[in-house]
Symmetry: C2
Subunit: 200 residues, 2 copies
C-alpha cells in the first residue's frame, strides 16, 4: 500500500473547504488514503509576508466571485461567514484532539466544521461554536471544552504547524503526494492525474 497523501489546510480557508469536499474521492480513485492536517496560515504568513486573500484590493473581489462560481461547479453550498477571516485555532485543536483518539471521526468533524463555516456561513471561531459543532457530531461537550484549553492539546497543534512550515507548506489547501506539493483547490485535477499516472 503506497503512502497516504497529506491534505494541509486552514479551517479559515474557503478554498480549503472546497478541496475538503473532494480530496477523499480523488485519493480513493488513486488508491490512496488521506491524512488531514489542519494548520494555521497566520504562522505561514509570518514566513512569506502573505496576507488574507479576500482583503487584497481587486484580487479579493475576484476571489469572492471565483469561490461562488467554483462551489456551484462542484455542486456544494457556499456562504462566506459574516466575520471573515476568522481565528481557526479552536477548530484545529479540536481536530487533533479527536485525531489522536479516532482519525476517521476527526475527518468527519473537520468536514462538519468546514460545512458550518462555509456551507452555512456560521462562525466557528469561538471555542463555544466549535464545542457546539462537536456536540452535533456526538462528542461530549465538556470533554471538548476541556481539550480546547488543555496545554498538551495546544502544544500538539503548535508542533503540527511548525512541522507543516518546515515541510514547506505555505498555503491552503496544499496537498503532498510522495513529497510532491500541489497548492490550491484548482490543482486537484493535477493531483488526480498524478495519482493516476504515478507522476509525469
Amino acid at each position: 500500500m503506497p503512502e497516504p497523501i497529506e491534505f494541509y489546510f486552514d479551517f479559515s480557508s474557503p478554498y480549503g473547504y472546497l478541496a475538503a469536499e473532494e480530496i477523499n474521492t480523488i485519493a480513493e480513485r488513486g488508491g490512496r488514503d488521506v491524512v488531514w492536517r489542519p494548520m494555521l496560515l497566520g504562522a505561514v504568513f509570518k514566513e512569506t509576508g502573505g496576507q488574507p486573500l479576500l482583503g487584497i484590493p481587486m484580487k479579493g473581489d475576484y476571489a469572492r466571485h471565483d469561490l461562488e462560481r467554483s462551489a456551484r461547479l462542484i455542486g456544494v453550498p457556499f456562504t462566506l461567514p459574516a466575520s471573515f477571516p476568522f481565528m481557526s485555532v479552536a477548530a484545529a485543536r479540536a481536530y487533533y484532539w479527536m485525531y489522536d483518539q479516532d482519525p476517521e471521526k476527526a475527518v468527519a468533524l473537520a468536514k462538519a466544521l468546514y460545512r458550518e463555516a462555509f456551507g452555512q456561513g456560521r462562525d466557528i471561531d469561538s471555542p463555544a461554536a466549535v464545542v457546539s459543532v462537536c456536540a452535533a457530531e456526538g462528542l461530549d461537550p465538556e470533554a471538548v471544552s476541556a481539550a480546547l484549553s488543555d496545554p498538551a492539546v495546544k502544544q500538539r497543534l503548535r508542533e503540527e504547524v511548525e512541522a507543516a512550515v518546515a515541510k514547506g507548506v505555505f498555503g491552503s489547501p496544499l496537498i503532498l503526494v510522495d513529497g510532491e506539493a500541489f497548492w490550491g483547490h484548482d490543482r486537484l485535477s493535477q493531483v488526480a492525474l498524478w495519482l493516476q499516472r504515478g507522476g509525469w
Copy 2:
C-alpha cells in the same frame, strides 16, 4: 457571432506563457475569437500591493517547480530566463504597434516573444532583444526600433494598461469571457467549460 474573449497577460508572466500556448485552441473549441491584451503587472501591483510571485519565500520555490511540472503536463518547453522578473515594456509596445497594423501577426509575434523568454529562456527585456525577435518574424528591424521609442506607441500601451486596471485585471493571465473573469493558467479548464456550457 458572440463577442471575442479577452486574454490579458504580462510578457514577464510565466503562467501567462503557459496560457498563451493553450488559449486559442480553447477559444476555438468554444466558437470564440481571442483578443490578446498584454499589460504591465507593475501598474497592477501598485493597486493591489502585490509582488512578483517567484520572489516570495516558499511560494516562489513552489512556483518554479509547479511551472516546470505544468509545462511538462501540457507538453511545452519551459526555461526561466536568467534575469527574472524582467521589464516587459518593450515587448508590449511592439505588440500593440503590430496589432494596429495586423492583429493576427501581432498574436504570432506575442507567441514568438513568449517562446523566446520562457521556451528558450532568453532575455526579451531590452529593445534590442525585442527587435531581434521581431526580425525573426519577418518584421523590419528599423521600423520596430523606431516604434519602440515612438511617443504615440508609448501612449497606446499606457492607455491599454489603464483600461485593464479599470476593468479589474489584477493578475496574469486573466481571461474575460462576457464580463466573467478567470485568473490563472489553472483556470483554463473552467474557461473551456464556461464556453461549452454558456456558464453555470
